[in-house]
């Protein structure tokens, strides 16, 4: 019988059908961070429950740790150190693969995971973090869970799950120069809503996806959760196999040859059935930016905010009125040339080496506008080292950006560092929720190219409008 990519991986991991559609699913790899992983490990300790296979568990420190140069366990977040120390204490003496602060492989979980070959095609993978869906870019069946489900997986290597509905999003067309996978996903969510894929696992297919490099696919799948999806997945191809070869936790030698044979065949059958299909053509797509407080409130960076009467449904209109007030914007207004206070490049969405190269390409020989606070936070210590080897750090700092240690940083405000009240920030992150980056902060999500260009301009714009080819 024809099967989708999702169904193939699912069935290969189904231990037992438990009735009522629920199955006991084997979980291959688990990644933890100090924010939620610490709680899951502590809770198991308190109950005297062992981790079943610690060598299938990975952990790093990214969420609460500061990103200032020379940082240590001390955090600006008042109790942040407790989370770091608790995670470290729980791991001590176990065979959990731990990338601690001084480890050259430390970084944001979803950046470290592909970088180290921890997420692999065809495996099941969970992390108590919603952006775990990023790893679907490698053909990994990966999704975010809460602490309780994480504890279950740590103790049993399984989860009890019902197979979700399946959606295919087929994207065709050659992306115009300067348009990125971040723009695709913001466009997608703006068209179909932030609950457009609620209850679905999404497979991305089509010529546009095939043409994307792995890191761009990671950005796309990263925001599947902002589309409401349980996860996003992309069939592995030659790019995936080339990307994974030689990574620390990838198969080695003959195992790699065997594994890549399996991966090459890991795709949806041509006549596989999906519960829903969306077709998009992105050949005329422009850079996108959000104007509101939900990722669905996004428009072309050269476009204007919708008028209230263009919206159907009173709850949508009420949400828009609230968002406009919060963001200090008006209906029908152009988003371009809105003055910004800050620019942020980082997060599990856009902090990989290709993102930093793209931003540096825009910033080269330029200075950011006066009064703009600009920060670049590499996604991992490896990304940081690579960027420094290429001299990108110099481009960022010469332009006026701060150059940081890796971590989640100001993607969200955890009680430590934040942007000022009512500050307008253009950001490569994934969530423009109220107060996400600090009290009353106004976040506009965009690609690294658009964030870099806006930082130079002091106002929201894309790189093309500055005459920069990106």
């Amino acid at each position: 019988m024809s099967q989708t990519l999702f169904e193939k991986i699912w069935d290969q991991h189904s231990i037992k059908n438990l009735g009522d559609g629920n199955e006991l699913i084997y979980i291959d790899r688990i990644f933890l961070h100090e924010r939620t992983g610490s709680i899951a490990l502590k809770s198991l300790e308190e109950r005297n429950i062992d981790i079943r296979n610690p060598n299938q568990v990975f952990a790093t420190i990214d969420h609460i740790v500061d990103t200032f140069p020379g940082r240590d366990d001390t955090t600006l977040m008042p109790t942040g150190t407790d989370f770091i120390k608790s995670l470290r204490a729980s791991i001590e003496g176990s065979t959990i693969n731990f990338f601690d602060l001084n480890n050259p492989n430390q970084g944001i979980v979803h950046v470290v995971s592909p970088e180290q070959g921890i997420a692999l095609p065809g495996i099941t993978y969970i992390c108590p973090d919603s952006h775990t869906c990023s790893l679907g870019a490698l053909g990994t069946l990966a999704w975010g869970v809460g602490s309780t489900e994480c504890e279950h997986a740590l103790a049993t290597n399984t989860l009890i799950k019902k197979k979700p509905r399946l959606m295919k999003i087929n994207i065709e067309g050659e992306l115009p120069i300067g348009v990125t996978s971040k723009d695709i996903v913001l466009h997608l969510i703006s068209q179909f809503g932030s609950n457009g894929a609620t209850g679905y696992a999404v497979e991305f297919t089509g010529s546009t996806i095939s043409a994307l490099e792995i890191e761009a696919r990671l950005t796309l799948c990263n925001m599947a959760v902002e589309f409401g999806a349980i996860t996003g997945i992309i069939a592995p191809d030659k790019k995936t196999i080339d990307y994974l070869e030689g990574k620390q936790f990838s198969p080695k030698g003959d195992d790699f040859i065997t594994a890549s044979e399996q991966w090459r065949n890991l795709k949806s059958d041509p006549d596989a059935k999906f519960d829903k299909t969306i077709n998009l053509n992105c050949s005329d797509l422009t850079p996108y930016v959000t104007w509101g407080t939900s990722p669905q409130q996004a428009i072309s960076i050269n476009g204007s905010i919708p008028f209230l009467d263009q919206l159907t449904g009173s709850s949508e209109r009420e949400s828009m009125i609230r968002a406009l007030k919060y963001m200090g914007l008006s209906e029908g207004e152009n988003i371009k040339d809105k003055k910004i206070d800050a620019a942020f490049i980082g997060s599990c969405t856009n902090s990989r080496i290709s993102d930093l190269r793209a931003a540096a390409n825009v910033l080269k020989d330029k200075k950011i506008a006066k009064g703009v606070k600009a920060i670049c936070v590499p996604g991992s210590s490896q990304v940081k080292a690579q960027a420094e080897a290429e001299g990108l750090d110099k481009i960022f700092t010469s332009a006026g950006f701060e150059w940081r240690e890796s971590g989640c940083s100001m993607c969200f405000f955890a009680g430590g560092e934040s942007f000022g009240e009512k500050q307008r920030i253009i950001s490569t992150t994934n969530r423009n929720f109220e107060n996400r980056q600090g009290k009353s902060t106004r976040t506009h999500l965009a690609s690294p190219e658009s964030v870099a260009a806006s930082a130079i301009n002091g106002k929201i714009c894309d790189a093309k409008s500055l005459g920069i080819k990106s």
């Binding site: 231990i15 037992k16 438990l18 009735g19 009522d20 629920n22 006991l24 084997y26 291959d28 924010r35 939620t36 610490s38 709680i39 502590k42 809770s43 429950i49 299938q56 109790t79 407790d82 989370f83 495996i123 973090d129 775990t132 869970v145 809460g146 602490s147 309780t148 489900e149 504890e151 279950h152 103790a155 049993t156 290597n157 399984t158 009890i160 019902k162 979700p164 932030s194 609950n195 609620t198 209850g199 959760v225 409401g228 195992d255 594994a259 939900s294 709850s315 009420e318 949400s319 609230r322 969200f412 405000f413 955890a414 009680g415 969530r431 929720f433 109220e434 107060n435 996400r436 009290k439």
Partner: protein, 204 residues
């Protein structure tokens, strides 16, 4: 986890769409490596005029009598979207809300509710609007009665709304069972599967 069966209580309407888990409990309110002590951080940015002094915002519904005693929350679509933080459910439960009725939920949040004795009910927007209308007349008197066994919401004496829920989720809430213990009973199945699985994927 305390078994859940029926509940009768005041319902508070928080009729906004896309209420995310950052809003339910801001990151800075998750202060300790613990699942407890989170209720005071619930909806902190909406609930307090000053987060630091904890001065309450009288305009926020959960600060108003009798909604400050609500056991049930009515809300808009995509409730609990965003971050996977289970703290959102821990805070809701500790504050006293045991049922959330919304047209749709963030999927991780929904799972987290089931694991923590909070019943998430999917109901059409129109039906929620009728319930809201009924409650608004006299929230103290017009309580909702929810029976998870029979999957019904009973209000206005004669009006009954049926709601769907996965059988396993229903059983889990009603029995308050510990899932780890249950799964560990199947350990030999897991062992056998694992051995065969590793045979096929020796690099894992």
């Amino acid at each position: 986890m305390k078994p859940f069966n029926t509940i009768s209580g005041i319902a508070a309407p928080l009729m906004r769409i896309n209420i995310d888990t950052d809003t339910i409990i801001p990151s800075r309110e998750m202060k300790t490596v613990s699942k407890k002590g989170l209720a005071s951080g619930l909806f902190a940015d909406w609930r307090y005029i000053s987060v630091e002094s904890r001065e309450e915002n009288p305009d926020f519904i959960l600060n108003q009598f009798p909604y400050n005693q609500a056991k049930i929350l009515l809300s808009g679509s995509n409730f609990g979207c965003g971050s996977s933080r289970e703290h959102a459910v821990w805070a809701i439960h500790e504050w006293g809300i045991k049922v959330i009725i919304a047209p749709s939920f963030g999927s991780i949040f929904y799972n987290n509710c089931i694991k923590n004795g909070v019943l998430p009910i999917n109901l059409d927007e129109e039906k929620i609007a009728s319930i809201n209308h009924f409650v608004a007349i006299d929230p103290m008197k017009n309580k909702l009665y929810i029976d998870l066994n029979n999957r019904i919401i009973n209000y206005d004496k004669e009006t009954i709304e049926h709601f769907p829920i996965d059988e396993q989720d229903q059983a889990f809430l009603i029995n308050g069972l510990d899932q780890i213990d249950q799964t560990l009973n199947k350990i030999s199945l897991i062992n056998d599967f694992e051995e065969a699985h590793r045979g096929k994927n020796p690099w894992l």
